[in-house]
Symmetry: C2
Subunit: 257 residues, 2 copies
Amino acid sequence: MKRGGNNVASQDHPLGYLLRQLELYCDLPPEDRQLVLELPHRLRRLDAASYLVREGDKPTNCMVLASGYAFRQKVTGKGSRQILAVCIPGDAVDLQNMFLDVSDHSVQLLTQARVADVPREALQKLVLSRPAIGTAIIQLTLVEASILREWVVNVGRRDARERIAHILCEFAVRLESRGLTGDQGFELPMTQEQLADATGLTSVHVNRVLKGLEADGLISRKRRHIHYDNWRALQDAGDFSRRYLHISDHDTLAQSY
Amino acid sequence: MKRGGNNVASQDHPLGYLLRQLELYCDLPPEDRQLVLELPHRLRRLDAASYLVREGDKPTNCMVLASGYAFRQKVTGKGSRQILAVCIPGDAVDLQNMFLDVSDHSVQLLTQARVADVPREALQKLVLSRPAIGTAIIQLTLVEASILREWVVNVGRRDARERIAHILCEFAVRLESRGLTGDQGFELPMTQEQLADATGLTSVHVNRVLKGLEADGLISRKRRHIHYDNWRALQDAGDFSRRYLHISDHDTLAQSY
DNA sequence: CGTTTAATTGAAAGCAGTCAAACTATGTGG
DNA sequence: CCACATAGTTTGACTGCTTTCAATTAAACG
């Protein structure tokens, strides 16, 4: 059940990760794979904290993260920020904007990144004319929605410890599914304040919870690196089940811990 | 800029509301309109509290609410419930399941309802073969995702009063956009406990907040009926802006209050 | 009408927030 | 190479919004 054949492209081609992500959910015929890789695009290198999209924008491109991390966010009237999603390499940053005219949230880089700008129309056309690509993009969109639902649950019905443990598990599995993790751990590209904005907490409390998880032997930390000392217990602490990520088992090794 | 021509169908045909909803975001050519209305479907009448979908199901139909209300929900390991969305008449209940094989959440009826079951494949085929319909369905999906993002903000970064005011505003505008509201108010088809599960609060506190909003002259209530006494103030109290609903202004009258 | 479900109210407890300060790491320029 | 600046982490004390628990009232239902 390997998805071989395009792994080479993943590493070099700016859209390789995108292709790989599309094929996570359904196989593409060879000619569709070609069409994806041949999408017109312009590659930019951007600094950390750059905005890719601002709420209210009328975007003309669909951006793909060739490398680096980003997050979606919204700011309330009182000025507090809520992070809505974390984008990892290969993510198409604004499928949203491909079919809606005004962006309803902002996207900001977490790290320095390479971003491929694909003209909106080119991707649109592919989605509407190639059933396999259309299916794959729709599935991507639906999985993003599923993750959003889980975030609503996380923020609405879990306590601080559960929220943090849950989001750590989510990262672990998502990164793993794209081969971006190290040995039983990963580089968390966020400050504790950003983690707080993603979980509806304050940075002070995130700090306390992280120390608690560490004290209980679930994780250990060095700088921004998270190591799971007890993956099973971390999942339990976070009420985490991978089902909502819709990643088939053979796409990741995480369950072997 | 009227979307006339299919208003008659909306009232009678089980899929009329769906068609109307599709056309909210982009116009369909007449033959596509025909194809939507000619979708094979079976109509069922179900009691309140019936499940339309259960988490883990592998559904074969896409259900459309011809009448009645429903909500999406997930239950945590500790047994608390989070409501993720409220479906109103005309909503396609599981676009999710149309392109994903396993449902990641449950859908339960709020009221007695008429539900049209459309075979998954029939709708899929239409989406992938008719660009206008594909575009409309994708837009619908994206708007749902946008609403989810706003819910994350609501639950993550707003206090109890703001959350309740916000969700009331959202109902008002969504119902209005489908012509389901009365005079400066609407029938809220939820108990206070369900409202609590939608906002990440407890029913006790929802009650206190509702009474607070009433005491401050923002709303008045009779049974489940909500009347906005001061629409402007209610929006302010809820930090509400309709942008995330992606409803064009001429599709609703709400802003005239 | 009795029974069940939902709404309401009060008192007490607790989780997380706020405020403030100290500490650490990283980076810069002299 | 060190002093200084900046950004992020850590810690403590106190406050407060919401929850919890419990009891009462009101509405819906057979």
